[in-house]
Symmetry: C2
Subunit: 318 residues, 2 copies
């Protein structure tokens, strides 16, 4: 079975770990969000790709959910001693090595997709990890500070400001000109099932869908497209998805997110059992829905979620 | 008193520490060798400038003589795990931060001299540290491997091969086209004394003198130029200077090095007490010479060497 998964960072990575346990023989291609990418200290950092790579490769810090296990922070401390920031982005020493290799390869002319493949040769994530695009796309968030509207990089909004002010708009700068990375459209066209993990619908999956050609390819693939709600009981399971959903005028509810994707894209949608009351409304919008436990408390629980998603896909297909 | 010092790495840096103790009120400008610079992992590494900066700024690893104190090597280990080398060059985590800042500033368009000044703002070395040039100069060593002549970067010859094969030639690639960094010629012209510490006469001081204009400025400065022999008892005090001296046809003796610089450049030359017999020969070549202890066993001994050098300069002047 060929499965394509659109993934952001922590939520997507943890779901993928469950999916691999649920379907160990499946051929999984991950289309990773690169809108969160940022240049720090002259180095190219791809937080979402790395979170998927480290999580599936056994290198993730389980506690934090991002960055490397057994991490140290000597380089960051020294950069701060030089007065070179930002200090709000937590790059550890082990993590730095990844960005150094990536930046060196990009500087030598390799596209991000080739660099990602090279990095994965070490981590053996057990999936094919593709960036959504080799072109630069950078998610900016419009905010109002002292009555003046300004745009900040998504990481600045998310990590430095912790989404403490309202997002007025979320703009994937460069997306309109971006092309899907080599292999992305081919993987979608060859897929048996396409899954949206409980990743952020705006800045993760939304950004991937903003690359021209990807949304169309998914809609036209003619295979079940099933998602899992990142909203449980009217609040994001983790992160601050409600802040960026508000920016695009979508309520932070399991059903509102499903309707935002829409029946033109989505065939099935899993909501958590606490949101079972939303199922009829979602189904009446033409999206098959089931209420199942959606808390990724451990790999076993996450694998069960993946099984439910694949089962819903088969229901849709039949 | 304005003192200009031409410096390589460890020997130059340690001498400077003694000089600062011997002449705490002197205005010292250091012209640092950049021929040893190397690009590693996409980062610009300036070993000699950093050794001076760390040594005078209190950040040096005293045991090794290079690199940072309390150093860790997480980044290097991770790079090796990615299969990215070279592994033979010992970059520690703290040291990496320096190269990251430097590379980022160079990428932003700042010349190396401005970058060095910015880095020194943290370290407060108590001297003005100038790279010999903002232009790229790279010392290559010609060697013979299996009967075939090839050129390797100086660091590869020195660090990886540990000078285990004969050097056929030493070539400061790019030196002919290089211009002295801003401030270099001005500092020489304004100097009261010019010192050559016991640095490598070929790949450190020789490379600095290979930048067009510097040798001429020193010869024409009209102030005492005094050097300290890096050769004691017919062997280099540290390093493998004899290997590269052989490549340019100079014997590894205190007097041969003095004559190599020549009386057109050098006014005074200190040799170690074990080489006292060489003094008459050096003096008959027109270079004033004294035999004094030249082992930099500690800062006090090194300060005494600096005092002897300054005393010889005053003798020359008188």
């Amino acid at each position: 079975m060929r499965i394509v998964v659109l993934a952001g960072g922590i939520g997507g990575a943890r779901f993928l770990r469950g999916l691999k346990q649920a379907a160990p023989d499946a051929d999984v291609t991950v289309i990773g969000n690169t809108g969160d990418d940022i240049h720090l200290f002259g180095l190219k950092v791809c937080p979402d790709l790395d979170t998927v790579m480290y999580t599936l490769g056994g290198g993730i810090d389980e506690e934090r959910g991002w960055g490397r296990t057994d991490e140290t922070f000597q380089v960051k401390g020294e950069l701060a001693a030089y007065g070179v920031g930002p200090e709000w982005f937590g790059l550890g020493d082990r993590d730095f090595a990844t960005h150094i290799v990536r930046t060196q390869m990009l500087g030598a002319g390799y596209p991000l997709s080739a660099v990602t493949e090279a990095l994965c040769a070490r981590w053996n994530p057990g999936v094919r990890l593709l960036p959504m695009s080799d072109d630069r796309v950078e998610t900016h968030v419009a905010i109002e500070v002292d009555g003046e509207r300004q745009a900040v990089h998504f990481q600045e909004y998310w990590v430095r400001m912790r989404a403490s002010v309202d997002a007025q708009a979320v703009v994937p700068v460069g997306a309109e000109q971006a092309k899907p990375a080599p292999g992305v459209l081919e993987a979608i066209a060859a897929a048996d099932v396409i899954l949206f993990p409980p990743s952020n619908p705006v800045v993760s999956i939304g950004t991937i869908l903003a690359v021209p050609g990807i949304r169309e390819a998914i809609a036209e693939a003619g295979v079940p497209v099933v998602g899992l709600s990142p909203i449980v009981g009217d609040a994001p399971v983790r992160g601050m998805a409600d802040k960026v959903l508000a920016a695009i005028g979508v309520e932070a509810t399991a059903s509102a997110v499903a309707l935002h994707y829409g029946s033109g894209l989505l065939d099935g949608w899993l909501v958590d059992t606490v949101d079972a009351a939303a199922v009829p409304g979602i189904e009446s919008a033409g999206i098959r829905s089931r209420a199942v436990p959606l808390m990724m408390t451990d790999v076993a629980a996450t694998a069960e979620m993946a099984r439910e998603a694949l089962a819903l896909a088969e229901e849709v297909r039949a």
